[in-house]
């Protein structure tokens, strides 16, 4: 489904990703872990097409297409979804309006039927159950005045409505208490199936108790430093990131700069 080859990306001229290689197949759950500043959030944003990041080398193939050639909204309509680490507030626009527009844009793109407000309301009510969200949130302005946990739940509600092929959860666990974490993880698990894939970007192993990954990739200094199964996450939890950082620095010191 997704193939990332030698991906380099920079922000304000500073290189953050320095050669990422990653292959993701349908039905898989991948965790991207790593210390602060390792580039894991940058990877999520680059996949979503955030304008602040510049891809300087490499390629990303999504379902046979060059993802990097698509605008952010085209990517989303093709089925790439990023749950934001810091969801944006959009005053004056209700969740229901926002989601219906987004849903209909995708439907139109796929040549499927668009829904009117009443039809969409039914769909939204149904999907809101996935994240145990009350109907009152649907009428409120997008994320405005929402607590941290409510914002994250709202991201997963959007995922439930848009049914992406590839969902990238950017530190969705940050700022969540244990109950909210459970609700969010439950929601993701309900949406995950053999036809889609999930990338969980996280600093902590905690979320991975609930969303169990098939593969864990550890980023350090803009590269994948370690890869393994779900055990790797437990190892990191026990030992911290320092040993990986130290290992990476050692390796880089011994390799002359290209």
């Amino acid at each position: 489904m997704l193939e990332i080859k030698n991906l380099h990306a920079a922000i304000d001229g500073k290189e953050i990703l320095r050669g990422i290689n990653l292959t993701i197949k349908k039905g898989e759950v991948h965790a991207i872990m790593g210390p602060n500043g390792s580039g894991k959030s940058t990877l999520a944003k680059v996949l979503a097409g955030h304008p602040d990041y510049e891809v300087t080398a490499g390629e990303v193939i999504f379902e046979g297409r060059n993802l990097l050639e698509l605008s952010p909204d085209e990517r989303a309509r093709e089925g790439v979804f990023m749950a934001f680490q810091y969801p944006i507030e959009v005053p004056g626009v209700s969740n229901a309006q926002f989601l219906r527009l987004a849903y209909n844009e995708k439907q139109k793109h796929l040549g499927r039927e668009e829904l009117d407000p009443l039809e969409f309301k039914d769909l939204l009510k149904e999907r809101a159950k996935v994240v145990e969200m009350e109907a009152s949130f649907i009428a409120r302005s997008v994320n405005e005045g929402f607590s941290g946990g409510e914002k994250k739940r709202n991201e997963i509600l959007q995922m439930a409505v848009l049914e992406p092929k590839l969902a990238v959860l950017d530190e969705t666990d940050s700022g969540l208490d244990i109950d909210a974490l459970r609700v969010v993880a439950n929601g993701v698990n309900q949406l995950q199936n053999s036809e889609n894939a999930v990338i969980v970007v996280t600093h902590y192993q905690r979320l991975l108790n609930y969303i169990v990954p098939d593969f864990v990739h550890v980023l350090a200094n803009g590269r994948i430093a370690r890869e393994g199964g779900k055990e790797l996450a437990l190892e990191l939890e026990a030992k911290g990131y320092d040993w990986i950082k130290a290992e990476t620095q050692l390796n880089e010191a011994s390799v002359p700069a290209n």
Binding site: G49, S71, D73, A76, V90, P91, V93, L101, E105
Partner: protein, 443 residues
């Protein structure tokens, strides 16, 4: 009498003489008209040298030599019906070119509310006194040339009297139509609304055009909200693209009364709205809100004065502007807190959204406080669409053009949602969402 032909105000002189012939009235109104004409002749149209008109140039209007019109027979009740809301089908009156038209009005659902041609009310012994007391009381023509001109051409208009304790269910719509099919004219609509003690009502003041040619609307609406009364006043300006619109709203609030007004300015080539609210009794409260939207070649100017003359009054003001193309807008908001007006709570905000680099807004919120125990705040902001919000919408598959419309709509919504009448809100939502980038007109 002044006879120099070079003076622009002389264009109106002959018309004024003709009016006095064709529409004679009672002595005190003759006197008002005459003294207003005198004031106009000495003041003329304001120029950009006048501090209050610094950014709004009426030069083009002055050149047009538009003369006062008669009512027109071009407008039918079907034309009026196009501009009504489901809530007002049986509670509306029409002024065509400023002239009251009972044949185009339907007051079935207005119960005990008195709705008359202002000129008839003047001649009616039951209402003569109240009209005399309030007409030209809040809309001062002594130092405002345009108000003077409107007052000089007083010949019709609407008089609305909401009796004490009346609770008006249906909103009253006043549709002010300009017949602009072929002839360019100057129209001087005049409205006097008196909401008596402890009454409660909603009024809609809606400006529309029938036709495409240029015209001049110079309207004056005076509102009196007596003790304990509640009035909600929606002012919708949908003039055509060629119109020059100058409008005055002058309100006076009694003890413990509330006045909630929202002005929506969408139409006209050049629009100016002067709104003033005087709180000259204790414990009154007002909301004076508005939205102006300007596109290519449009200019909109709002001047607001909220005058706290007595203690324990609250005022709330939110004005928002959306500017596209080379559109220009002006917001000038003054709040006066007079000596002795303790425990005043006044809040004023003006926010502007620039959708194009050629758009320009001049905003000037002003507070003048002469009391020491008050709570006052004001602020102004000018900005563009938020790039983070736009990216968020794109990341959900919404194309950038639609995303911009949605964010613009979201910006306007804070004002639109203040209007209590649902079908007006829906109409405005539709305009902001669908038509903003293709030119504003009433759907």
């Amino acid at each position: 009498m002044v006879t120099e032909l070079a003076k622009p105000q002389n264009k109106y002189h002959d018309a004024f003489r003709a009016l006095r012939q064709s529409k004679p009235t009672v002595a005190w109104v003759e006197l008002v008209r005459e003294s207003a004409m005198d004031r106009f002749e000495s003041l003329g149209f304001p120029t950009v040298h006048d501090e209050e008109w610094k950014y709004t140039n009426l030069g083009q209007l002055d050149k047009l030599s538009l003369l006062p019109s008669e009512s027109s027979s071009n407008i039918s009740s079907t034309d009026i019906a196009d501009h009504l809301y489901p809530e007002t089908v049986e509670s509306h009156i029409a002024l065509v070119n400023g002239v009251f038209r009972s044949d185009l009005s339907n007051t079935t659902k207005l119960g005990g509310v008195v709705v008359l041609d202002l000129f008839e009310a003047i001649a009616d012994a039951r209402y003569n006194k109240i009209v005399r007391h309030y007409l030209a009381r809040n809309a001062n023509y002594h130092d405002k040339g345009l108000t003077a001109l409107n007052t000089a051409f007083l010949q019709s208009g609407a008089f609305v009297l909401i009796p004490g304790n009346a609770q008006l269910e249906a909103p009253l719509q006043i549709t002010l139509v300009a017949d602009s099919v072929e002839k360019s004219t100057a129209n001087f609509p005049r409205v006097l609304v008196v909401a008596e003690e402890n009454s409660s009502a909603r009024i809609i003041e809606k400006y529309v055009a029938h036709g495409d040619v240029s015209y001049f609307t110079n309207s004056v609406v005076e509102v009196v909200v007596k003790d304990g009364a509640r009035l909600e006043h929606s002012r919708l300006q949908f003039e055509n693209d060629e119109a020059f619109h100058v409008g005055t709203t002058a309100a006076e609030l009694g003890r413990g009364s509330t006045y909630n007004t929202t002005a929506i300015n969408l139409g006209a080539r050049l629009a100016r709205h002067d709104v003033s609210v005087v709180m000259n009794e204790d414990g009154a409260e007002c909301w004076v809100d508005g939205l102006y939207v300007v596109g290519e070649n449009q200019h909109s100017d709002t001047h607001s004065v909220i005058d706290h003359q007595h203690p324990f009054c609250n005022s709330h003001q939110l004005y928002k502007g959306i500017l596209d193309g080379n559109g220009r807008a002006v917001f000038n908001g003054k709040i006066f807190v007079r000596e002795g007006a303790q425990k005043t709570d006044a809040m004023q905000t003006n926010k502007n959204l620039l959708l194009s680099p050629q758009a320009r807004v001049d905003t000037k919120p002003q507070l003048e406080i002469y009391a020491d125990d008050v709570k006052c705040a004001h602020g102004a902001a000018v900005g563009q669409l938020d790039q983070d919000q736009l990216f968020y919408l794109k990341a959900r598959g919404i194309n950038p053009e639609l995303g911009k419309s949605l964010l613009t709509y979201g910006f306007a919504e804070e004002v639109i949602e203040k209007i209590g009448i649902e079908s007006i809100r829906r109409q405005l939502d539709h305009i902001v969402m669908e038509q903003l980038h293709t030119g504003i007109q009433e759907p």
